[in-house]
Point group: C2
Chain length 119, copies 2
């Protein structure tokens, strides 16, 4: 039961689209991820996913609209909803999602991180 | 599926120790709470609880030690562990916890908020 500092944890990695687990509770995981550029379109069959902007900004593309998010903004993408995060500049996000969540969801492919590192 | 801005939500209430629900996902709730002064000693029988400091600072008193937390710090208090948050000045926290979690846990009493408001 240690204090976790987000900035310090973010200083421990630099690769984009590689989520890192920083805490677990109630079967859920708290992750940090740095993103830049566009991800793959995907959805999660069984998991709702929460994104909170820690630094920077990004946009969440949905099939019918796009939501722009800045530092201090968050969004919950319900299970089954296709989404694609895109960041023009590097953006740091805190994710809150079930431990079963795989980053690429339905899409799979080379950008999948099956076992995120715990930092 | 709307964007949620933490600062804007925090501007919608002022009472201390009155958690507000701002999102729900996977049976979990995301809450905001403003605290000042000391709370009651309590634990949660079945719920792990996460606290992330959005503004200000507070200390989490545990039976064997105290953890000081500032903006950008978080801590997970596992189920069964007695704790008591204390803030000398007003502090705003984001909480992640199961929907079943009641603020005073094992302690009950007059500071219990059985049905937090959703904002």
């Amino acid at each position: 039961m240690e204090k976790i500092n987000l900035a310090r944890k973010l200083g421990q990695f630099s690769a984009h689209w590689q989520p890192k687990i920083i805490a677990e509770l109630n079967g859920q995981q708290v992750k940090l991820v740095k993103i830049k550029g566009g991800f793959v379109w995907h959805h999660h069959e069984h998991e709702d996913e929460m994104f909170l902007v820690v630094h920077g900004s990004f946009r969440m593309e949905l099939r019918d609209r796009t939501v722009e998010l800045r530092e201090g903004d968050m969004i919950v993408v319900p299970r089954g909803v296709e989404h694609r995060p895109v960041a023009d500049e590097e953006c740091s996000l805190l994710l809150f999602e079930p431990a079963s969540t795989v980053n690429t969801g339905s899409a799979g492919g080379e950008r999948t991180v099956p076992q995120p590192e715990r930092i």
